[in-house]
Symmetry: C2
Subunit: 223 residues, 2 copies
């Protein structure tokens, strides 16, 4: 267990009791998430936040995009922030002020570097594919040379990271505890529906098990 680097940026200033600096917790949040939000500073100096796919290999995060996308061009070599958030429930308090949410989040800071080596890029794409659509690599057709060239992959070291996790009932003012007001948590669940086949599917093509039996996204306390 390596503690997360408590550098100035990644030190959680608010809700300190909710933060954790445990590397296993960081990995668990990243592995439980499906998409991330990539933040970068555009040429004109304003922040831009875009949702995108990602995958983790050890302490490297790979973020996926098109070579034509402004986001990955701007992020190459520049400072980026990648945030993964899982909303786990709504926290109803006896007081509006203490209403909150239960969640898990990871906020990563660093300089992104786009991969140029073909093999490295292919390996990173496999990591991203294994994260977003596990079982697909080796089942679907692998990227052609042209497709690989059209894909940009950004690598980010998980050196500077902060994890925040909130679980459990609301915090309350002692004076509010006598109120006849309901308080508690409404959990939010994420689950896969039934696979919807592509209309042009060849007749008799069965749903593969990696789709049919894909486990539901990992909830709080199970990761």
């Amino acid at each position: 267990m390596h503690p997360l680097s408590p550098t100035e940026r990644s030190t959680v200033r608010r809700g300190k009791t909710r933060s954790t600096s445990d590397r296993a917790a960081l990995h668990a949040v990243l592995d439980a998430g499906l998409i991330c939000h990539l933040g970068f500073v555009a040429e004109h100096g304003a922040p831009v936040v875009v949702p995108t796919g990602y995958g983790r290999d050890g302490d490297t995060l790979y973020v996926h995009g098109s070579t034509g996308a402004a986001s990955l061009r701007a992020a190459d070599g520049g400072e980026v922030c990648v945030t993964v958030t899982l909303l786990d429930g709504i926290v109803y308090s006896r007081a509006v002020f203490h209403c909150s949410v239960n969640y898990r989040s990871a906020v990563l800071h660093g300089r992104g570097a786009t991969l140029t080596d073909r093999d490295e890029k292919l390996a990173a794409l496999r990591v991203i594919t294994d994260h977003l659509a596990p079982g697909t690599w080796g089942y679907a057709r692998e990227p052609s040379r042209r497709e690989l060239a059209a894909t940009a992959v950004l690598a980010l070291d998980l050196t500077e990271a902060a994890v925040k996790i909130r679980t459990g009932p609301p915090g309350e003012e002692p004076a509010d505890l006598t109120r006849p007001t309901w308080a508690g948590v409404l959990p939010l669940h994420r689950s896969w529906g039934s696979p919807v086949p592509c209309p042009e599917l060849r007749p008799g093509t069965a749903v593969p098990s990696h789709v049919e039996t894909r486990p539901d996204p990992v909830g709080p306390g199970r990761g």
Copy 2:
């Protein structure tokens, strides 16, 4: 229907067929989301992306935070980017390159302004509460003067915004259509679980209907 402002930043460069410049679509995405990702540029010039609660009133978005939070201090008067993303499913293609996700996203750009007027702030907090925990305002205790002072609310005009929506089966290379490979969509559903009461609840306090019968988050095509 006002088309969204197609300024340089909010023009969708990638996946043009997936973008829409319809104000009703923007409102629908914002109303279906639960939390947003707020991006700003920190003092040292690097981007920061934090998850937070929000609410919409007409063409104003309110974002919620603590007066002690660095995010809202940095965002006040500065350029911010607020992104709301709903992941609706995983798109399995016959080729790894065309694997994708179905999603709805709204990306908003502008200068944030923190509210100072007490009544304005209270009204904005109600908008945020009605979004995240509808039914709570008027049921739970309203913010005290002290609590209101400890809460920061950022207002952002929905002037510069881009909406992207992807639905349906994968796009494929024509040559891949003859492959005996399954392709289609695995939908991701979000639903509320059973309310978990606070352990310190006064005995006999019933779950209010705004919690018990809260409708599940709005899926694609229903907003």
